[in-house]
Symmetry: C3
Subunit: 411 residues, 3 copies
């Protein structure tokens, strides 16, 4: 599907002045709540076995997303202008961190379609990038993101590179506030698209926190099957993207500017029965580092001398990939299998971690707007560059598999 | 009226895909602002004479509730599935405490009506329980809740059992996130209903804070008069309910699990001219304990040695009841009289308090969607198990009567 | 235009039960980020050269406003009652300060039109006052407010008169919660209006923080040209207003009540081609005083002994005026010129500041609901009553001119 067009434009002469819409995702997740097997917080709860973002329980219900939005051609007589507004009222990284709260704005854009080949979109919207983040969440085929998308692309904001026990703002959510030039061009069955965006590089903050701006580039080409349309149209797509910016963060008390670069390429295939997606991502510069000892942020170590806190690696590299298969055994039932890998902190042996997850999934489509998902994630993290005597191996071995069930309802 | 059905389902083949609706309640309240007559905070403001939840003034205007919601059958061709979303933007316990804010989600549920006799509702919604909390607020006949509902059912969340000067989260608001099996069965004029729910037991948090889950049970039977329908249908209803769960709270610095059980039974009668409601509630385990010396939370005692704070009785019992009469002197004017009693902390003499309130009220219905309410509450609190020399008697004697006026507008 | 009627009423028998509407403003602002030229924070960032309200950057994109509202006659069969609800999801003074957040309620009112000549509006709404604040933001002709409106009318709330590094609540936004009696009377081409309001005097808090209430008075008369209607109707209007209240603020640790009085008069003219507006405002009592040394709130002085903080002058006076011209060179393009002056702190020489701003502007109307604005503000602040050797002259000389571009989209 073409997310640039589906999210940034409306069909000419068909859009209402204000279409009220949205969706909710209600879920249950559970792990075995295995306690940390080693390290300064041995025996305490492990962050990766708890439900995000509060990390207070290993199992429970959650209203993961509850979004309400309005979109359309605000003055229907002028089909050159359309808009998209949306707010998040669920419980996730968007509505937590710093002053974030339920009712957080996730999208607020206006698109001007006056220029042939160069539509202009201004405001807050999804940045042109990774398919996993750019696609509409209601047609995301799993409950949880891959490790690569979660840790490399879903930007966490902190005031300091180490020592913070809470995020200072909403998670980035693959969005930014700025201006984008984009369009799509049909050439027979193929649809070619591009986007160039300049943004604050400050996630959902709506405003900037420094003078630096982020640059985003995106290219895609898709062979559309049978002139299908919409977010689940049939086709084979290839795409590549990059983003490049700087962040201001306090390192040992000194306000410092650090690079944050990301790039990726991938493909998707869907013919109504078989679905395939593959993506490769690289990261350079600022990379989220998790919590000390994999303990809960704010937890006091057993000897009382350390408090676990978040860290950001400010000059590291990482790469990640995923392979995702879907098969519709019936029109209403799809079985899914996803393998994702993340190698994070490749420049310094002590930072290096290998995240590997295999996800078994099933989706049932009650109707076009309501579905249920059941996922089982087989998860591992390794640190192969550390000496075999390191306690880190036992800490990472604490990670549990995870089961999750989710209902998605679009209105 | 049948709240399980009115809130959890839509009429088959009549519901739109998205009905935008909501309501606002604008009010003015006032007490004499009598200052504490005794105790460590003598002469200072008394918490129970101030306007909730800020407790900053004894009189003033307040936007008590401003709710915006969307409900319907999201895919109208499939009448087996419906949903209900709502957010609170007014000023009350829902939008205050911890990170709560205006725009707080109060309802986000999806109901699956596929199984005969066992509808399934998942998400955040009102728990099956006390009529006073379960009924729709726009048809609540008073401005303020009874003491029993206020202190036993509207759960306050704190990190510690004593010493906190602020709530750690939204008030529970009679809601939880989880899964409910329910249905209603018509047998002649009688409608029998049941509900079984399993939830986080964490109020409006959307997620859980511990692995414990709450169980809710509910039964009702109602003789429906003249096949009337809706939230003010005529009928005579009998109901019983219980809920049972555990809470995790820090007691003297130690994270502890404590029981929280509630149960009740009651009846309602309404024939268009006369209205009657009666309810009896018991509480066991965690019970809200108010503020030290009835002073404002955070207030420094006159001798400078104590700060008034909230407390929760973690192993106590209480019971409460109410009797509520209404008489329509004209189709548009109803006179109301309510008596409610709460005996809280019945296990330990020092905890024991008797709350008694008689409320005189009038309601004027401008039209089916707009009404005004005027209430006068004659309030008293006593501590009959304390020695007559105790300063507590004078502190409790500080409580003022309260006058309130409210406009309710449903759209 | 008649804002009392446009905002407080609906056209009889034409209003829907619930009209969903709103608007978004997306902007880019920039100054030269000149650093403070003198004083304890010399060389650091100057507050007045940063983007409000975070003051973190001198240039960037911002979603200044994103408002979603619902209005109408809630029970359409009864045209005597109408309502107006709106929430702010953008980034500005409304959604920051204290516990404010995105999703903040800005309007929640119900109007009863039963009495001839005395409509009654209750709830949260714009107070009858200055044209610049009372008018609908989508038809505001500039990006930024005049200095007089910004510093005298957009009330900032603080716990203490000095020393606070953050506001304690949303900015007042020209709104209050209370009750208003108002109406408009047509006499030939002339329309005469009045409003009397009593409110909490606590801005957007929805509730009060002390027992004092604010009184608002408003009178206007407008000659309507050619029976035009709506927010951009053609006419010549004259108006006068006042508001009078008290505020409770801590001065050197002592909770104190202080007066806050404002009054003004002005006129507007618009005939479709030429637009003219003039207004004069006086302030007495509490007046916003900016930050120490014009530094960022919370910034440590170069010698490490002072932290810059906000201040409120609690017993001062000020007056301000503006002249605003518009000329439609084409039906879609308007050129604008505005001069505004504020003399603040006229009673004490050390407080006295002269703010002068000349704004050059252009507006392009893509259609009736979408426009773009480009502004260049030539700004100066002087302190003519201070000795010429004072460092304040150099500090004030730090202020930069400001360029801003904005897209406004109404749906």
């Amino acid at each position: 599907a073409n997310w640039l067009m589906l999210q940034g434009t409306e069909k000419p002469n068909q859009a209402p002045a204000a279409k009220l819409w949205g969706f909710a995702q209600i879920e249950y997740q559970s792990t075995d709540d295995t306690k940390l097997k080693a390290g300064p917080w041995a025996g305490q709860k492990a962050a990766f076995n708890q439900m995000a973002p509060q990390l207070d329980t290993a199992s429970g219900f959650n209203i993961r997303r509850a979004r309400i939005g309005i979109r359309g051609a605000n003055f229907p007589l002028d089909s050159n202008i359309n808009y998209f507004l949306m707010a998040e009222l669920g419980n996730n990284g968007i509505t937590t961190g710093g002053n974030a709260s339920q009712g957080q704005l996730t999208d607020a854009s206006v698109t001007f379609n006056h220029l042939e080949g160069a539509r202009v979109r201004v405001g807050l919207f999804k940045t042109p990038g990774s398919e996993e983040l750019l696609k509409a969440i209601p047609v995301f085929n799993y409950v949880n993101f891959t490790s690569g998308t979660d840790r490399l692309l879903l930007e966490r904001f902190f005031d300091n590179s180490t020592g913070d026990t809470a995020r200072s703002a909403s998670v980035g959510a693959g969005r930014d506030t700025g201006i984008q030039i984009f369009d799509a061009f049909r050439n027979g069955d193929w649809e070619n698209s591009y986007a160039v965006m300049l943004g604050n590089g400050n996630g959902l903050a709506l405003t900037d926190n420094d003078e630096n701006k982020d640059l985003y580039l995106y290219l895609s080409t898709e062979k559309v099957f049978d002139n299908t349309v919409g977010p689940r149209r049939h086709g084979m797509k290839f795409y590549a993207w990059m983003q490049d910016g700087k962040r201001t963060i306090s390192i040992s008390g000194v306000s410092t500017e650090k690079n944050r670069k990301r790039a990726g390429l991938g493909m998707t295939y869907f013919d109504g029965k078989y679905r395939l997606a593959a993506e490769y991502i690289t990261a350079d510069g600022m990379i989220y580092g998790g919590t000390s000892g994999a303990a809960l942020p704010g937890a006091l170590s057993n000897n009382g001398t350390q408090t676990s806190s978040f860290s950001v690696l400010t000059d590291e590299k990482a790469y990640a990939y995923q392979l995702d298969f879907g098969y519709r055994v019936q029109p209403k039932l799809e079985l899914n299998l996803r393998y994702d890998a993340l190698d994070s902190g490749t420049e310094v042996d002590a930072n290096y971690r290998e995240f590997r997850t295999t996800t078994l999934g099933a989706q049932y489509f009650f109707n076009k707007k309501t579905s249920a998902r059941l996922n089982y994630e087989i998860r591992s993290i390794d640190a192969p560059k550390l000496p075999s005597a390191s306690a880190v191996h036992d800490i990472l071995d604490t990670i549990d598999n995870r089961v999750s069930a989710q209902v998605t309802m679009v209105f």
